[in-house]
Amino acid sequence: KFQNLEAQQNFAPGEKPTPYQAVTTYNNFYEFGTGKDDPAKNAHTLRPRPWTVEVGGHVEKPGAYDVDDLIRDSHLEDRIYRHRCVEAWSMVIPWVGIPLADLIKRFEPTSKAKYVRFETLEDREQMPGQRRRVMNWPYVEGLTMAEAMNPLTLMAVGLYGEVLPNQNGAPIRLVVPWKYGFKGIKSIVRIDFVDRQPLNSWQELAPHEYGFYANVDPTVDHPRWSQAKERRIGEFFRRDTLPFNGYAEDVAHLYAGMDPKKLY
């Protein structure tokens, strides 16, 4: 489906990708309902094209970018990543995406930009789950500039070589494989470069359970369940959760000297 797709990069070597059927029918996307199978059932109302992403804040090149222009002007990469949900289940997903660093370089943030703040579409017609105030809409997420510029951080526009299905966050979503899944904000309409740490939606809702960093850490339990192990979808036995979801080599340096208890 994508013409400008580069060679595959496997960041989950030796692990079998979770079947397409499971990846596209089991996930959280509260904009379409709070059940795990709700997004696949209800996301047909989303219209992912045409789609513009507003870029603003401390950047030299703010503006409204059409998602297809962003895709056409980029080197798309096929990347196989582990995906670990904060609810202790996990998958292996072959994403298609643009390294976020490539996009950021194009927007030319100024030295005032310390964080990147993302926002999901807010539209009750397209996102029926937003008719109920489960959380404050629109969904908000954020990264530090260093996290956003890390080569692992991806703006996904597809999976399994195909255009991203609506339920997985079409047309463009964030993928940060060393963090819990809720950091991977979906159906993004705004990207702002800001000087203060954004208040992400789950932290706003339950600050003692979900923080800003949300780095995968088997030693820091969720208040209501252990994070030491995870259920890989399709497997019977739980497997051990790895620090930074197995990406410590690539990202641990970002948090040198920080208290791991504060990185939940």
Binding site: Y30, T34, R132, M135, R224, S226, A228, F236
Partner: protein, 207 residues
């Protein structure tokens, strides 16, 4: 009452339907057919059996108010099967948690029990149901005599613990657990009303 027996049969069928549905879905899953258990059947069955435990438990608490309001005394015969079905779904819930979800990982289970109040409440509720199930036979009712009703008042703390457990386990969408809570409060409120009404009436008539 001539409908009494067929109605009880309907009650049994209704209570067994959720279990039959799960078995059917599991059969579909193991035969690679489309099924409703999602890509994570462990989590799905967990929520499903937990929800049915609470629903049937609340139904068992509704028997007495319903009997008094409709003046149909034969309804009392619904109380034992409903209580036992609630216990049955509770055991499935626990079984799924211990065997399928954590496969006897006692470290994790112990940690859940001692460190996480939501889990403690749930397990305590189920644990307290054991003596009620054991003493549910006619023989035990006769043997325990007047302590039987006193023992079975445990159902109130059990229902409260179960509903609190339900509320605490939900991440954000509290709709269903709050419906459970409202029904529980209504059923408990009815009992408080019935118990204190005579006193209230007396006091009002004296003043």
């Amino acid at each position: 009452m001539k409908y009494e027996k067929p109605l009880r049969a309907v009650l049994h069928i209704l209570c067994l339907l959720p279990f039959a549905w799960i078995l059917w879905q599991l059969w579909l899953m193991f035969n690679y057919q489309p099924h409703q258990l999602t890509a994570n059947p462990f989590q799905y069955i967990n929520q499903y059996t937990g929800d049915w435990t609470i629903r049937i438990l609340l139904a068992s608490l509704a028997v007495t108010p319903l009997r008094k309001l409709t003046k149909k005394n034969w309804l009392i015969k619904w109380r034992r099967p409903l209580g036992l079905y609630a216990f049955f779904y509770g055991l499935l819930h626990l079984g799924n948690y211990v065997v399928l979800d954590h496969f006897f990982d006692w470290t994790v289970i112990w940690q859940d029990l001692v460190k996480r109040p939501a889990m403690t409440f749930g397990m305590l509720a189920l644990f307290l149901m054991v003596p009620l199930a054991v003493t549910s036979t006619k023989k035990m009712i006769r043997r325990l005599g007047r302590s039987w009703p006193r023992l079975h008042r445990l159902v109130y703390p059990i229902a409260i613990l179960a509903v609190i457990h339900n509320i605490m386990m939900v991440k954000a969408d509290l709709r269903q657990p709050l419906i459970h809570l409202s029904i529980l409060l209504l059923l408990l409120g009815y009992r408080i009303y019935v118990k204190y009404r005579p006193r209230l009436v007396k006091r009002l008539s004296f003043s």
